[in-house]
Amino acid sequence: MDSIYYQVIEALIFSSDEPLNSADIIKAIKGLDGEDIKITPDEIEETVDILNKKYEEESKLSFRISKIANGFLFSTRPEYAKYLGFLSSEKSKRRLSQAALETLAIIAYKQPITKPELETIRGVNSDYILNTLLEKNLITISGRAETIGRPLLYGTTDEFLKYFGLYKLSDLPKPREIDEIMKDEDFLDQKRKIMMNLIEDDVQNEIKESTENNASE
């Protein structure tokens, strides 16, 4: 195997979203450079060892290629696990789950709203999410409803506005406005298709012609 493939193998493993096995690597290389390229699974295995040795001994990199049952994939060395853990826990603190976002949206548009009202809309118990949102200071208790039991009312906070870059609550896009942006999408699509069909034959010719033009550019 030509050593120019060291980098190719590395790049393939790096970018694959699944652990990549030798067969796929060989497939890509032969697929592009020709079936007569000499490259075997053993050579790929060797290449990975050579790369790992280089990463560790020469380059002192903080990552390497791991071999797991169904292939190769990059992994960060375990000695950095605590830094990685810190980063991902910081990230998860910032992130809102889909359920939290949905709840937040209902509160934002319906505020002030009680927990029972919210749960009627969502159809599920919302204690946990309400707590999360309260903790993140995106919502707050804004008072009590005058109805029986005087349940607590929830509303959004200034932090909420900041999070979404809004100046004031009335800056929230109105559902009507969202509808407007979305309107006629299907209709327009239909029209486009009809037009496309009408000119399809011409398009075919143009493609051929332009490919030729491009090749000569």
């Binding site: 790049a11 790096f14 797991i68 994939l73 486009r192």
Partner: protein
């Protein structure tokens, strides 16, 4: 002459720029009659097919016709007494649009370059050790908060209970287990909900000590609650490694 296709143009301005380019017209001296005629032919073609898109073209057609009429009339003058070319606004719009069309082309090259780039695909084998939440929590919950919560729990007891004399057999270990059991059921617990229903001060005290013990062992975390005088307990994942 190029054959005009229906979907080639992003809009009326794009079509006008096409005419100008194709016929090598001077953008500052557009022959309005000629271009209006061509424009209308195109509009008639698309009108049959697509009302939505045609709307913008029809609007432009009427603008062109309006300019055409104005060209025949004596020129208006601006405040400096200079003649106003009826085409000025149209020229301005064409140049403005062209400016962004050019940028869009360059952005197309960026897009092409970026499509040759891939990012790391698989992160499943990266080892991560979650930070001891314990540390972070102490930033939010002060000892004062803890003390206030405790005081509240004690104060809420009904006074007559205090007078009962009864030996209470309760240990810290039992209460540790009690808290852990409760946390099996709920991810998070308010402190007040744990001591709710406890009638003896000593039981609350021991529960509180158990809770401190669990915190110290790193088994549970404490965070601030929005209710005054209360706080939330939650179970920590036992760090692996």
């Amino acid at each position: 002459m190029y054959k005009i296709k229906l979907d080639q143009f992003e809009g009326p301005l794009d079509l006008l720029l096409f005419f100008i380019k194709r016929d090598e017209l001077n953008i500052y001296d557009i022959p309005i009659s000629r271009i209006t005629k061509e424009f209308l032919e195109y509009v008639n073609l698309i009108k049959m097919l697509d009302l939505e898109i045609a709307g913008d073209f029809i609007l432009m057609a009427s603008t062109l016709m309006h300019i055409k009429v104005k060209m025949l009339l004596p020129r208006e003058v601006d405040e400096k007494g200079e003649q106003i070319d009826p085409r000025t606004d149209l020229i301005q719009a064409l140049l403005e649009y062209k400016k962004y069309k050019e940028v869009a082309e360059e952005m197309g090259y960026f897009e092409t370059d970026q499509r040759k780039v891939s990012f790391r695909g698989n992160f499943s084998e990266d080892e991560k050790i979650a930070p001891p939440e314990y540390d972070i929590l102490l930033k939010n919950v002060t000892l004062f908060d803890l003390a206030k919560a405790f005081k509240k729990a004690i104060q809420d007891l009904k006074p007559e209970v205090v007078h009962e004399i009864k030996k209470i057999n309760i240990t810290i270990d039992e209460q540790i287990q009690f808290i852990l059991d409760r946390l099996e059921k709920d991810k998070e617990l308010h402190f007040l909900s744990i001591v709710d229903g406890m009638r003896e001060k000593i039981r609350i005290v021991i529960t509180f000590v158990a809770l401190l013990e669990l915190t110290k062992m790193g088994q549970i975390g404490i965070k601030i609650s929005d209710n005054f005088n209360d706080f939330i307990l939650y179970k920590l994942e036992v760090a692996n490694g």
